[in-house]
């Protein structure tokens, strides 16, 4: 038993070590091929996209730890973005500033995402419908609402103070990175220092045992999904600000990428496993690979295919290191 514990500790670290090594190899290879890679511009472009991807992965991660998944995140981020955009464009005349309204819009935007995910949580907890189905149909429903509101059009034109969030830097570091850091710290505290995180890990590794051990599973699931919605809302603020517009079909490719990053970062899709450090390494790795491939002018679709292959390779590699467990089966 003791031996088992030790080896599992090594394995958990092995995941992060493996990711760090791959990360270094990728950086070295790309910077050898292209001199332009190791520059401030690359740093900025990676750190610009890194926070929004990271936030969406946080939202995916916390639900995956409980053995669920949140496929409605992109649709809900778009809805939040649209509502924020509508509020700001209708209440603030073009060219003027009104920080109060911007803050109000941000609060409303985030609460809409929280509300959507709260709905997911309630249905999953009380009706016991699989999370995939609930969040999938929620995605349809929410993007339906978005289409009805926008009539398929793009809403754009925000005040400077809102654009500041996604596009400006403070002390040489883009603002979204600060926001992501705060959210990652919140997530870390929730996962490792609050009962909610412990219950989530427990439920993910054994739902029945957790239910019988007296944990209020329903309340836990609703809280987990609401938190997931909070991250989506924050991501929506950053996305809307960075694009300076909002529409119902934005950022759909991020859905797969956030699942990929979560799995790459060592989060078990069956639940019960996953650390923030691994996830951050995975986001960084993927962003660097993506911007490296962009600098090398690799086709966008080839990058998509490569992401798929990376996901499969990660899963296969991880299986290999756990092989003795599966040899029984």
């Amino acid at each position: 038993m003791k031996l088992n514990m030790q080896s599992s500790l090594v394995k958990r670290n092995r995941d992060n070590i493996m990711l760090s090594i791959i990360l270094m190899i990728v950086v070295i290879i790309v910077s050898l091929i292209s001199e332009r890679f190791l520059s401030y511009n690359t740093f900025i472009s990676v750190t610009r996209q890194f926070p929004e991807m990271g936030l969406l992965t946080l939202c995916m991660m916390i639900t995956m730890i409980t053995g669920g998944i949140n496929l409605s995140c992109i649709a809900s981020a778009n809805l939040s973005g649209i509502i924020m955009a509508k509020m700001m464009t209708s209440m603030i005349p073009k060219g003027t500033e009104n920080v109060g309204v911007v803050i109000l819009a941000i609060i409303v935007g985030i609460s809409i995402s929280v509300l959507v995910s709260f709905g997911n949580g309630v249905i999953i907890a009380y009706l016991k419908v699989p999370a995939i189905l609930v969040t999938l149909s929620m995605q349809m429903l929410i993007s339906g609402v978005s289409i009805v509101i926008t009539k398929g059009e793009i809403v754009s034109g925000f005040p400077e103070s809102f654009q500041f969030i996604g596009n400006k830097s403070v002390l040489g570091i883009p603002v979204p990175l600060y926001i992501f850091a705060i959210c990652a710290i919140i997530m870390y505290i929730v996962l490792h220092h609050l009962p909610l995180g412990q219950k989530a890990y427990m439920y993910g590794s054994n739902p029945t045992a957790t239910e019988f051990s007296g944990v209020n599973v329903k309340r836990m699931i609703i809280k987990v999904y609401s938190l997931s919605g909070f991250f989506v809302g924050v991501a929506a603020v950053i996305l809307t600000s960075r694009f300076n517009s909002a529409a119902s079909g934005y950022a759909t490719s991020y859905l797969l990428q956030s699942v990929l990053i979560a799995v790459l970062g060592g989060i078990d899709p069956n639940g019960g496993k996953g650390k923030i450090s691994g996830m951050i390494l995975a986001v960084l790795l993927l962003q660097i690979v993506a911007s490296g491939l962009n600098i090398l002018r690799v086709d966008q679709f080839l990058i998509t295919a490569l992401f798929g292959l990376i996901l499969l390779a990660t899963v296969a590699f991880r299986l290999n290191s756990f092989k003795k467990f599966f040899k029984l089966g």
């Binding site: 249905i123 429903l141 993007s143 899709p269 499969l312």
Partner: protein
């Protein structure tokens, strides 16, 4: 559990099945739409239109049903269909052939991609949804990379000639053929019963001596075949191949199958249920246009219907579980 439930063919049992409820909902909707549209909804023209346009998605839904019964899921089938469609179209445009060759090429592509999915799902021990999301991107990404996303049209004459008869007979014929074949396989063959058994309890079926790997290979390859069939039907109806037309409609098809009473946990689901699910989705989509609802509301409506039906299934499942515990 559901096996003997169906064999007990007392009328009471039929009233309790999911398919019966679904049929009632479909009939109710059709009745309302017929009244609202003054009978035009049930005109011969509209019915055949609906059938022809729904046939391709229906064929794919039946394929997906088999995978879902086996306890898995396949998100990559639209990518599979697109690849199969594209390769078949390229084949007949450069080498030529006949109706049989188009289907043969597409089906072979479908089988190969399906086998890849099954091998990965079985050997990597990761939820099928993760694997197939990955393979969807691999298939679709490579297709778009190598073809540059160009549309194909201008097929040979034997494929391009459409009469008002063939444009109905080919889609509907293939849907009927696929339904009957799948119904027969699931009900009357060993491999079909194995699919149910593996989906219900993979570990138990392994101990009874069922070859789980072979069953999964069959299920995913069958999904590939059905995706290929559906894609060729679409290619015939639209007379072009647009690589970006299909990917993104996976959820609509998945909704049909789940509406039809298949459980994502596996081991449960019928062809008839899936056909009713197909009808429901088609009637709603077509009916909204008929009643004059703006197409902006279409996604919202579908979302509401799918959400309600999923919740309903969840509630029914919970009641059943409750009864079992009481007993």
């Amino acid at each position: 559990m559901m096996f003997y439930k169906h064999n007990k063919s007392s009328i009471k049992k039929i009233f309790q099945t999911h398919e019966f409820y679904l049929m009632m909902v479909v009939l109710f909707l059709v009745a309302i739409l017929t009244v609202v549209s003054g009978g035009r909804f049930l005109s011969f023209g509209n019915i055949t239109d609906m059938l022809a346009s729904a046939a391709a998605l229906g064929v794919m839904a039946i394929g997906l049903l088999v995978v879902i019964i086996s306890g898995g899921i396949d998100i990559s089938f639209m990518a599979t269909a697109t690849v199969a469609q594209y390769l078949a179209a390229m084949f007949i445009m450069s080498i030529g052939g006949n109706m049989f060759v188009v289907f043969a090429v597409a089906i072979m592509v479908g089988i190969v991609l399906g086998l890849i999915n099954a091998a990965l799902v079985y050997n990597l021990k990761v939820p099928a949804i993760i694997i197939t999301i990955a393979t969807m991107n691999v298939f679709y990404g490579f297709l778009m990379y190598f073809t540059g996303g160009t549309w194909l049209y201008g097929f040979p004459e034997w494929f391009a000639t459409k009469t008002s008869v063939t444009v109905l007979v080919i889609p509907i014929g293939i849907l009927v053929f696929a339904s009957l074949l799948t119904w027969w396989i699931l009900r009357c063959t060993n491999i079909g019963r194995h699919v149910y058994a593996v989906g219900d309890n993979a570990e138990a079926s392994k101990r009874v001596g069922i070859k789980v790997y072979r069953t999964l290979l069959f299920a995913y390859a069958y999904m590939g075949v059905m995706a290929a069939l559906g894609s060729i039907v679409l290619m015939y109806v639209t007379q072009n191949v647009a690589p970006n037309a299909l990917v993104g409609k996976e959820m609509e098809v998945l909704a049909m199958v789940v509406l039809g009473g298949a459980a994502l946990s596996g081991g449960k689901g019928t062809v008839i249920g899936t056909l009713f699910g197909l009808m429901l989705v088609t009637v709603i989509n077509n009916g909204l246009v008929f009643v004059g609802v703006s197409s902006y509301y279409q996604t919202l409506f579908m979302g509401i219907v799918v959400m309600i039906s999923f919740c309903f299934t969840g509630l029914r499942g919970r009641k059943k579980r409750g009864k079992e515990i009481e007993q």
